[in-house]
């Protein structure tokens, strides 16, 4: 609609456009990248930031929520932190620049900045094709660095790999491209953390899981209380590939995590899990688009949300089953504990089905803690506060514990405990 385009630019939109003018000569990239960045900013200018009128942003009015944009800070003091898993190999991006790259057997890497500059064998930066892809547009315009990783065919990466983006406020725009070779196995932690200074962080990750590979991808978003975090994970599953994607949103003020997944090979399997702990004034949106394109693919999606205080939570999950994708099995559930009258939760679990021989289902519930459960515990002498804590913990732990790796379960549960301690 043109009406929106005619509206005056908001402070944040102006700040982004000005920032681009100021930074564009310092951003890495060949001629193609420069043109893509220009196009992305032009699109941002033309479309503005999306409002509720844009269906993909129905519950996250980015134009209103992204009220201000912090300045770019070159000198922000930030240091890598300990990985969440003991013995993990840490790749660190500090203030949006690749700063630490360990050598890992079976793993090849390049800096994204170098790949963007390279004329041959690099990464082609492209402006987003869709007008509603605001995350893609912002990231394309400002991406400064990131990681390009590839796991060799049949490699079994024993130690977990943590890709850590740490910052001290300002602007952080990273992009990664990860390919897991045929038959390979690996566990990645994609972690975003920083100080409580205001930050606009964007991240785009493209993950390709080749034939028969098995990958676990854990997103741990623990940004500061003032952070605007806009992220997108693109996932391609080839034949017999398996992926477990687990998202833990533990903080941040404005969070949008998109996942665009496609099962492109037969017998591909996706397990998608998300735990969103939403308190304070946080607005947290997880949006999943999943395409089942070929026969015999399977997916399960479980999302658990806890909302307290003035938190606003959103889950949009769209499963699309294409006409050739017979025998698809897709099961989606979104369960929410809404614990405050000042908070809210909105969900839109969509199914779009063009194949007749499929089993697809979705369920969504929103409720507070079951009074019978509470009574059961309190009748046994457990205080109300402890009982509520236990029940909330149990509600989210159920899906955390599906992860087989014990150290991983412990690390995630410790973070959930800390959140409950702070918000309980």
């Amino acid at each position: 609609m043109n009406l929106q385009a005619q509206a005056p630019l908001t402070g944040a939109e102006t700040a982004l456009i000005d920032l681009f003018a100021q930074r564009c000569n310092d951003l890495p990239g060949n001629a193609g990248a420069v043109s893509a960045r220009d196009k992305a900013v032009a699109a941002l200018k033309a479309n503005r930031l999306p409002t509720r009128k844009v269906e993909a942003w129905h519950y996250t009015d980015l134009r209103r929520l992204l009220s201000s944009v912090p300045a770019w800070r070159a000198d922000a003091p930030a240091k890598p932190v300990d990985p969440i898993l003991p013995g993990a190999r840490r790749f660190a991006l500090v203030n949006g620049a690749l700063a630490e790259t360990p050598a890992v057997d079976g793993l090849q890497f390049d800096a994204m900045a170098d790949s963007l500059r390279a004329d041959v064998g690099g990464v082609t930066l492209e402006a987003p094709a869709e007008a509603d892809d605001a995350v893609g547009a912002i990231n394309t315009a400002f991406v400064s660095d990131g990681l390009r990783l590839s796991v060799a065919d049949d490699a079994e990466i024993a130690a977990p790999v943590e890709i850590q983006s740490v910052h001290a406020g300002g602007q952080v725009h990273t992009r990664s491209q990860v390919t897991v070779g045929a038959g390979a196995r690996a566990l990645f932690v994609d972690r975003h953390t920083g100080t409580d200074d205001a930050v606009l962080a964007s991240n785009v990750t493209e993950l390709t899981v080749r034939k028969g590979a098995d990958v676990t991808w854990i997103i741990v978003q623990e940004q500061g209380a003032q952070a605007s975090h806009l992220a997108s994970l693109g996932l391609t599953l080839e034949e017999d590939a398996r992926a477990t994607v687990f998202i833990a949103n533990l903080s941040g003020r404005l969070v949008r995590q998109e996942v665009h997944a496609a099962a492109t090979g037969e017998r591909a399997e996706l397990a998608f899990r998300a735990v969103n702990m939403i308190g304070g004034d946080a607005h947290c949106d997880v949006t999943l688009e999943l395409d089942h394109l070929v026969p015999h693919t399977t997916s399960t999606e479980t999302v658990r949300n806890v909302v307290t205080a003035r938190g606003q939570g959103v889950f949009q999950g769209q499963i699309r089953v294409a006409q050739p994708a017979q025998k698809t099995d897709a099961q989606m559930a979104c369960n929410t504990l809404l614990l405050s009258d000042h908070g809210g939760f909105s969900t839109k679990p969509e199914l779009e089905i063009f194949a007749d021989d499929v089993v697809c289902a979705h369920g969504a519930t929103v409720a507070e803690i079951d009074h019978d459960h509470l009574f059961y515990l309190m009748a046994r002498g457990v205080s109300e506060k402890t009982a509520r804590g236990l029940l909330i913990k149990a509600f989210v732990a159920e899906i955390v514990e599906e992860l087989k790796d014990e150290a991983l379960v412990d690390a995630l549960e410790a973070r959930i405990d800390a959140w409950l301690e702070a918000h309980g």
């Binding site: 809210g344 839109k348 007749d356 507070e368």
Partner: protein
């Protein structure tokens, strides 16, 4: 799970090529010139002998409509409609308003006979003793007859065409019209407000349980006409009314437009039950012809403990764009939506409901079954919204869809919004999770799981069907016979 043969056969029976009501009645018509402008609106208003405020209201709506844009968010695809190429008023010659049955053109009487609609008061449905239904028959732009008016009047119930009500009960109409669906609510509602020609008006006074079923039968007959129906139903404190609506149209290659607005108002302790059997001509298998059915239906549970229940069986129309909704304003009010939508040929259905919880202890239930075949697209689009002050709101939603053949599509787009911690909302699309207790009960007694699920789901649906008026139940039963197995959410 693929559909079983029995189900396929059932759906084939209601296939588009076997549309039974596609005949045309040849009767001399009195038509306004084609096109839409202020003169046409004034002409419609004059034909209906309306008070001036009504004309002004229409003109205001027309002004608003001109500034609005066609909604494009639904999953339906149709060419731009040329609103200047439609007759906005068409009535059988000499028929400007309802008459007694003896004055109705025999040709029109025969039409209703063929459709199985009793226009004579003494007629009683075969096999159903002592069961009477009052009928308001709307033929293109006018109501041709309304039956049992006197008997209903004895009970204090007003049942007449809305044009008549405008003249006889202007205060009531003025008080309520547009109070649930405002003039500028949406594009088609604004259009309807400007050019609506007829529909039914029902007023049930305090404490009255309406002594019989009320029904309106809409027939589009004339070529190139649009039908703009307006229905207004008011149930005063403690009143009860059950209302049915049926629709058919001739088989033609051109598309015809039906844009209706239905408003229901339930005061304290009142209950309104609204049932629809929508069987407009759906077009042929290639998508040629058929009715564009763009309908705004909304009920307002204005008083405490009020209840509004929508039931629809949707089998017709080339395009259906329809979301019968409930605004649960009164404390303890209840909204229900039961829907069976069957699409075949090249039909496109985008239908569902909205349940807006505003009052305390409000409850709503949504049961939607979509069945698509041929190359049709069948979408459930629904919204459940609990506002901040709506404590202890409760919703249960279940929508299942079934695809027959691999060229059709079934889609589910629910919007669920909770803003109060005491809300309990459940949206279910899997049969296996509906009620584990019931399932356990059956299986414990040796009934296999699949049979147990069928038993529970059928049992539940039957319960709904049994509550329905007989006329509806017979028609709906045919569709419910369709097996529920192989459902996808």
């Amino acid at each position: 799970m693929p559909a079983v043969q029995e189900t396929i056969d059932q759906v084939r029976k209601i296939d588009v090529d076997q549309y039974k009501y596609g005949f045309e009645t040849i009767v001399e018509m009195d038509k306004a010139p084609k096109g839409l402008n202020e003169d046409i609106i004034a002409l419609i208003s004059a034909k209906k002998d309306e008070p001036d405020w009504m004309l002004q209201w229409r003109l205001e709506a027309y002004k608003r409509w001109q500034t609005m844009q066609r909604p494009d968010w639904a999953r339906v695809d149709y060419p731009q409609i040329d609103f200047q190429d439609i007759y906005y008023y068409a009535a059988p010659k000499g028929q400007t308003g309802p008459k007694t049955i003896d004055d109705v053109d025999p040709e029109i009487r025969r039409t209703y006979e063929k459709l199985g609609i009793p226009l004579a008061e003494q007629e009683i449905l075969a096999g159903v003793q002592e069961r009477r239904v009052a009928v308001d028959a709307v033929f293109d732009s006018v109501s041709v007859v309304t039956t049992f008016k006197e008997e209903l009047a004895k009970a204090g119930v007003i049942f007449m065409s809305i044009s008549e009500a405008m003249r006889e009960h202007p205060d009531l109409v003025r008080k309520y019209i547009g109070s649930v669906v405002p003039v500028s609510d949406n594009y088609y509602a604004a259009l309807n407000s400007a050019v609506f020609t007829d529909g039914s008006f029902v007023y049930v006074p305090e404490g009255v349980h309406c002594p019989m079923e009320l029904s309106t039968y809409f027939r589009i007959n004339e070529k190139d006409t649009g039908q703009f129906e307006r229905t207004l139903i008011i149930a005063e404190k403690g009143a009860y009314v059950s209302y049915l609506e049926g629709c058919t149209a001739p088989q033609r290659d051109e598309n015809q437009l039906h844009a209706a607005v239905v408003e229901l108002i339930a005061h304290e302790d009142a209950e309104i039950k609204y049932s629809t059997v929508q069987n407009w001509y759906p077009g042929d298998a290639e998508g040629k012809g058929g009715i564009y059915n763009f309908v705004t239906k909304r009920g307002d549970c204005r008083g405490d403990n009020s209840k509004i229940s929508w039931t629809q069986v949707e089998t017709g129309s080339a395009i259906t764009w329809k979301y019968p909704s409930c605004i649960l304003r009164g404390d303890n009010s209840r909204g229900e939506f039961y829907s069976i939508a069957v699409s075949n040929g090249a039909q496109q259905i985008d239908s569902g409901t909205k349940m807006i919880h505003l009052g305390k202890n409000t409850t709503s239930r949504i049961i939607s079954k979509g069945i698509s075949a041929g190359t049709s697209q069948n979408t459930y689009r629904g919204k459940v919204s609990v506002h901040r002050k709506a404590t202890d709101a409760r919703n249960f939603t279940q929508c299942d869809s079934l695809l027959i053949g691999d060229r059709c599509g079934a889609h589910t787009v629910p919007y669920i919004e909770a803003n109060n911690a005491t809300a309990q909302l459940e949206h279910e699309a899997t049969t296996s999770k509906i009620s584990e207790d019931q399932l356990f009960y059956c299986m414990q007694r040796g009934i296999p799981e699949e049979e147990a699920i069928a038993l529970i789901v059928n049992g539940f649906v039957k319960e709904v069907i049994q509550e329905l008026p007989m006329e509806f139940a017979v028609e709906a039963q045919k569709l419910i016979g369709i097996s529920l197995e192989g459902s996808v959410g």
